[in-house]
C-alpha cells in the first residue's frame, strides 16, 4: 500500500479545567492512496480528532502525523496552512457555506486565498458539474436543500484537487434521499481517484466504504474490509 496518511503513536490530550481528557491514545494508522475509508464509533470516541490531525487543523500531543512523504505535526503554522490550502480538503457536517455568497461563489472561495483566480469561475462551474449542480450555480445558499448545500461544499473541496478529502459526518443532517446522493457522489469521486476518509455514525454508509475503522476511547478497535 502506498500510504497517503500515516499516524505513528499519536496521542491527543485536551485539558478541561484541571482535568486532562485523552481523545486519542497511541494510535497507529495507515491510509493508502485512493482508499475510501470510514471511521466509525460512538460520540466522543475521538473520530473527529483523528480527522483533524490528518488534515493539519489540529496537532497531536505526541506521535507523528505524515501526509505522503511530509511529516506535518512539526510544521510551522505557515507550512501547515500550505498543506490545508493545497493538499487536504474538508467536508463538514453542516456544509459550512458562506450564506452571503451564491453556490458558485462558495465553490470559488478556496481560490480567493491562493493563486489562479483568473480561471476560478470556469473551474468552479466544472466542479459544480461534477456534483450535478451546475444549474444551481447562481442560487443563494438559503435557496438550496440540505443535500444540495452539502454537494456544493463537496464541489468546493474539489476546487483544490486535493490529495485527501476528509469528511466529518457529511450526511449527519440529511434525509435518506440526500444522504444516499452524497454517498454515491463520494463513491464516484473515489472511483475517479480521490482518497476519501469520512467519519460517520451511519452503519449503512460505513458498510459501503472499502475500509471501515472502528474507534472507541481514543483507540482503533477493529477494521472491517
Amino acid at each position: 500500500m502506498d500510504p497517503i496518511v500515516q499516524l505513528k503513536g499519536v496521542s491527543k490530550v485536551y485539558k478541561a479545567g484541571e482535568e486532562q481528557v485523552a481523545a486519542l491514545d497511541d494510535v497507529d494508522l495507515d491510509i493508502g492512496r485512493n482508499e475510501y475509508v470510514a471511521i466509525m464509533g460512538p460520540s466522543g470516541s475521538g473520530k473527529s480528532t483523528l480527522l483533524n490531525l490528518m488534515g493539519g487543523i489540529d496537532r497531536p500531543t505526541s506521535g507523528e502525523v505524515w501526509l505522503a512523504d511530509q511529516r506535518i505535526d512539526q510544521l510551522s503554522e505557515r507550512q501547515l496552512l500550505e498543506v490545508r490550502r493545497r493538499r487536504v480538503s474538508y467536508v463538514f457536517q453542516d456544509a459550512r457555506l458562506m450564506p452571503s455568497l451564491n453556490a458558485i461563489e462558495n465553490v470559488m472561495l478556496p481560490r480567493a486565498f491562493s493563486a489562479g483566480r483568473a480561471d476560478a469561475r470556469t473551474a468552479a462551474l466544472q466542479c459544480l458539474e461534477r456534483v450535478g449542480l451546475e444549474k444551481r450555480a447562481k442560487h443563494m445558499v438559503h435557496e438550496l436543500s440540505g443535500g444540495e448545500a452539502q454537494r456544493v461544499s463537496i464541489a468546493r473541496t474539489l476546487m483544490k484537487e486535493p490529495d485527501l478529502i476528509l469528511a466529518d459526518e457529511p450526511t449527519g443532517n440529511l434525509d435518506r434521499k440526500s444522504r444516499m446522493e452524497i454517498v454515491y457522489l463520494f463513491e464516484e469521486l473515489n472511483t475517479m481517484g480521490n482518497t476519501i476518509v469520512l467519519v460517520t455514525h451511519d452503519q449503512e454508509i460505513g458498510e459501503r466504504t472499502r475500509r471501515c475503522i472502528r474507534i472507541d476511547d481514543g483507540r482503533p478497535l477493529q477494521e472491517a474490509a
Binding site: 488534515g55 500550505e82 493545497r86 450564506p99 452571503s100 455568497l101 468546493r156
Partner: protein, 400 residues
C-alpha cells in the same frame, strides 16, 4: 471572487446593521465636515478680509470703538464724526506710513434712495489703500466723478445706475468678497461726493445727515514697516477725543468668539469620534463572534491569518468610506439648508464668514472621508486581530 467582493457580500448580509453603522459614522463625519468648513470659512474670511483692509490701526471718535468694530465686521451702518484735521495730526506721528480718511453715512428709507439703510462710505481717493487696490471687477475705463464701488456682497452689477438722495451714480467697480461686513456690504464713493450728498439731502424734509464738510468718521492708519503699534497707540491716546481700534485686536476678538462658539461643537465632535471607534469595535467583536465558524472555515481552506485580518478590515473600511461619503453629503445638505441661518447667527456674534472655495470644500470633504475610514478601521482593528488569531479547529467547532 476576491477580498472586496467577499467583504461587500458580508456587509449586505445584514443590511439594517450595516445601514445603522454607516449612518452613525456618517453623522460623526457630517459634524466634523460641517464644523471644519465653517471654521475654515471664518478663518479664511478673517485672514482675507483683514489683509485687504490694509490698516493696522483705525482712529475713531471716543466712545465709538464698539460701533466701529461692529461696522467693520458686519457692515452694519454706523455714523459718528470727528474733524478731518485729525488725519494730518495722525499722519505726523512717528511710525505712521500712510493715513486714509473715511466718512460713514447711511441712506434714507425713502423714494430718493434706491435702497434704504445702506452703508455708504466716502473715501479719500488720493491716499486710499483700502478700497481701490481690491476692486476685482471694474468697468473698462478710469474711475470718474459719479462712480461708486460696491462691496463684494452687493447685488448691483457693473454699469448699473444707483441713486442716493436724488443723486445718480454708476457702479464702476466691485470688491472681492471677503466675508468682512464693511467691505462686502458698503458702497464706496469719493469723499467730496459724500459731502455733496449732505448738501443734496437738505432738499428732503425727511433726512438729516449729521455731518458737514470737513467731518470724517475714521482715519485708517498704515504703520511703517517695523514700527511698534503700541507706541503709536500710546501717542494717539494723548488725544482725549479719540479711540483707537487695532486690527490685530479685532482679529483676536473674532478668534475668541470662534473658540467660544465652536469649543462645545469640537468637544461633541471628539466625543462622537471616540464613541464611533468604541461602537465599531464592540459591533465588530460581535460580528467576529457570530462568524467564528465561517472564519474557521476560511482558515481551514487555506486563508492566512493576514487574509482574515484584511477581510475584517476591508469590511470596516468599506463601512467607513460609505459613512464618510454619506456624512459629507449630509454635511453639505445641512450647510446648504442652514446657509442663511448660519450667516445670521455669525453676524450676531460679530464673526465674519466667507464660504470657502469649492476646491477647499472638496479637500475638506476628502479629509473627512479619510477620517471616517480611519475611525472605522481603527475601531475594527482589535476585533480583526482577534478574528485572525482564531485557531481553525476551535473556530470550526464553535457552538457545537
Amino acid at each position: 471572487m476576491n477580498l472586496f467582493t467577499l467583504a461587500a457580500h458580508n456587509l449586505f448580509r445584514k443590511p439594517f446593521r450595516t445601514a445603522a453603522l454607516v449612518l452613525a459614522v456618517g453623522i460623526a463625519t457630517a459634524a466634523v465636515f460641517a464644523t471644519a468648513t465653517l471654521m475654515h470659512g471664518i478663518e479664511r474670511s478673517v485672514d482675507h478680509g483683514f489683509s485687504k483692509l490694509g490698516a493696522d490701526l483705525m482712529v475713531v471718535p471716543r466712545g465709538t470703538m464698539v460701533s466701529m468694530e461692529r461696522a467693520l465686521l458686519t457692515g452694519e451702518p454706523s455714523t459718528f464724526y470727528m474733524e478731518a484735521d485729525l488725519a494730518d495730526e495722525v499722519n505726523a506721528l512717528q511710525g505712521v506710513s500712510t493715513v486714509a480718511s473715511q466718512l460713514f453715512l447711511t441712506t434714507a428709507d425713502a423714494e430718493h434712495c434706491i435702497v434704504g439703510d445702506a452703508f455708504l462710505v466716502g473715501f479719500d481717493r488720493e491716499n486710499d489703500f483700502t478700497v481701490m487696490p481690491w476692486v476685482s471687477d471694474r468697468l473698462d475705463r478710469e474711475m470718474q466723478p459719479g462712480d461708486v464701488v460696491v462691496g463684494g456682497g452687493s447685488d448691483f452689477e457693473l454699469g448699473e445706475s444707483v441713486y442716493y438722495y436724488g443723486q445718480y451714480f454708476t457702479v464702476y467697480g466691485k470688491l472681492d468678497r471677503t466675508g468682512i461686513g464693511l467691505s462686502d456690504n458698503a458702497i464706496f464713493l469719493d469723499l467730496d461726493e459724500a459731502y455733496a450728498l449732505a448738501e443734496a439731502s437738505r432738499d428732503y424734509d425727511d433726512v438729516e445727515l449729521g455731518f458737514g464738510p470737513g467731518d470724517i468718521s475714521a482715519v485708517l492708519v498704515r504703520l511703517e514697516s517695523g514700527a511698534d503699534p503700541e507706541r503709536v497707540r500710546f501717542a494717539l491716546a494723548q488725544n482725549s477725543g479719540i479711540s483707537v481700534v487695532a486690527a490685530g485686536n479685532v482679529v483676536t476678538g473674532v478668534r475668541q468668539n470662534v473658540v467660544a462658539l465652536f469649543a462645545g461643537t469640537a468637544l461633541l465632535t471628539g466625543v462622537l469620534i471616540v464613541g464611533n471607534i468604541l461602537m465599531i469595535s464592540a459591533i465588530f467583536s460581535t460580528i467576529i463572534n457570530e462568524r467564528r465558524r465561517e472564519l474557521g472555515l476560511l482558515r481551514a481552506i487555506g486563508a492566512r491569518k493576514s487574509r482574515v485580518f484584511n477581510l475584517v478590515l476591508t469590511e470596516s473600511a468599506m463601512l467607513g468610506a460609505a459613512g464618510g461619503v454619506a456624512g459629507v453629503a449630509l454635511g453639505l445638505i445641512l450647510l446648504r439648508i442652514f446657509n442663511r441661518t448660519i450667516g445670521f447667527h455669525l453676524d450676531l456674534l460679530n464673526i465674519p464668514f466667507l464660504w470657502p472655495p469649492v476646491e477647499n470644500i472638496a479637500l475638506m470633504g476628502m479629509a473627512a472621508i479619510l477620517m471616517a475610514l480611519l475611525v472605522a478601521t481603527l475601531g475594527a482593528s482589535y476585533p480583526a486581530v482577534s478574528g485572525a488569531r482564531l485557531e481553525p479547529y476551535d473556530a470550526i467547532r464553535a457552538g457545537e
